[in-house]
Amino acid sequence: MQPALSIVFFTTASGAGFALLMLVGLGAPLGLLPQDPWFGFVALGTAVVLAGGGLASSAFHLGRPERALRAFSQWRSSWLSREGVVSVLAFVPAAVFGIGWVFFGVTRGAVGLCGVLAAALAIASVYCTGMIYASLKPIRQWHNGWVVPNYLALGLMAGLLLLDFLVRFWVGRATMAALLAVIAVAVAWWSKERYWRFIDTVSALSTVETATALGSRGKVRMLEPPHTEENYLLKEMGFRIARKHAARLRRVARLAGFAVPALLSLAALLLRGGGFAIAAAGLAVIAAALGLVIERWLFFAEAKHTVTLYYGAASV
């Protein structure tokens, strides 16, 4: 599948933003985070900018972005519509929670309840994003049980790395966020490795024989394509990445997205406080951002659509 940069940015940024919103929406009412209104402003601001920026970026993928509001109507059947509805709904309690905290210094009671509600909608939004891909049967690399856990784990990893970095500015030392960040990186790494192993070993039930309803005489192979030049289907669904490039990019994603953040967040946890710990936490965020963008680009580039079976693909 063609990796569109607008979608790569949308899924990574909004995944991190909504995960941060969930952590702050839960953590502040429970008293696990600094109660300083300025902390609320920075943490919620970061979450909203990332989540909102990601959603705005997704509009660049549309052929008719001026009609984007129509996408909120089909939540009964469409995961894309559900994603839109849930993500926009999440901003409503998030706004109440943010105003209550930042302007009135309240994080408990009704304001806290709004935080918890925003947290629930935020994580539901990441779930819906994963389901948009997991529900597409023609793409085996998406239609499997690892995709939604991947989206949740990778989002939580990014959110916790960000939260640990922000909390250190206020508290000056490692808190529970630091420990959770290390665990989140490990879980995300594990789930991504399982995903990669899955797509390397399992291919679709569909073959060129089932796609053409032929095969009673033996193997079916393409003789002539229907057209000599590319078409929309080949541009959008026929994107292929060389095995060598995929392997190299996986190594980069593994290193920048998981190994470096794991080491840096562990170092920050062990250092507890000080400038080096803050620098390590900050670098962990930057490395993870780079790694996740490459990981997400690969998520598209390595996905194979059944339509390519009609154009000579040996398997999908």
Binding site: L62, P65, S77, S81, K219, V220, L223, E229, E230, T306
Partner: protein, 253 residues
């Protein structure tokens, strides 16, 4: 709404039956489709860089060619592919706007271009590659089963069939109601054991493909009668040949 219409037994399911035994891969159906539909319900079907390198455009019907089997039993199969108007079309249910819909009255899958946002998720959801994006208008387009022909009172009754079916020179394409077990198309499917494409995905395509018939092969092939002619040895040069060569040399000076 992108919810699918409720199904009931005997429901009308308009679609195509494509005979892979007869198709000769002439692309007449694809051309006729393009010609009709670029002025029809989903018009236009744009072409990009039509006179330059990298020409591409929107087509609703594409003719692939495959080889099936190896050796003497193998054959070439030309394979036309257009929207299959599935009973479980995920292209409809994934649509976030309601632009993509399946008609309750005849099962035709259509796009309402006026509310399509061009997210292209429907094209991803279609395993068959039936939908193509119009990059000019920013909306998705697809086969309409020539809805503007089959219900068109201004056409003669015999012309109220899809353009691809009308133009086929080998009568490899048939149009009819596959929901009616007694219709000619349903009988054809039953008789020739018509098949679904990618049934494992559960889209339940309405269009059916008739597999190529088994050839009645002779037991052993005799050598071709042309062989002795091909093997004729060169005869020695005579006096006439030498004379002609001399004349040729003189005249070419």
């Amino acid at each position: 709404m992108t919810d699918l219409p409720a199904q009931h037994p005997g429901q009308k399911k308009l679609g195509l039956v494509i005979d892979l035994d007869l198709c000769v891969g002439c692309h007449a159906c694809a051309t006729a489709c393009k010609e009709w539909n670029t002025g029809g319900h989903m018009a236009p079907l744009p072409d990009f860089h039509p006179y330059g390198a990298g020409v591409w455009g929107v087509w609703f019907n594409r003719i692939h060619s495959f080889e099936e089997g190896e050796g003497p039993g193998a054959r070439t199969v030309h394979f036309p592919k257009s929207c299959l108007h599935c009973e479980e079309p995920a292209c409809v249910t994934v649509c976030p706007t309601g632009a993509s819909y399946k008609r309750a009255e005849d099962g035709i899958v259509l796009v309402n271009e006026a509310i399509c946002i061009g997210c292209q998720l429907c094209a991803w959801a279609c395993p068959y590659g039936a939908r193509e994006f119009d990059a000019d208008e920013g909306v998705m387009k697809k086969c309409t089963l020539c809805i503007d022909r089959i219900y068109n009172d201004t056409l003669l009754a015999e012309d109220r069939i899809p353009a691809c079916v009308m133009v086929c020179p080998t009568k490899a394409r048939h149009f009819g109601d596959l929901g009616d077990a007694d219709s000619p198309v349903s009988e054809l499917v039953a008789e020739r054991r018509g098949r679904d494409l990618m049934p494992e995905l559960g889209y339940k395509p309405v269009n059916k493909y008739l597999p190529p018939r088994r050839e009645r092969m002779v037991e052993a092939r005799r050598p071709l009668a042309l062989d002795p002619v091909m093997a004729e040895p060169e005869r020695p040069e005579g006096i006439g040949d030498r004379l002609l060569r001399w004349a040729d040399r003189v005249l070419s000076r």
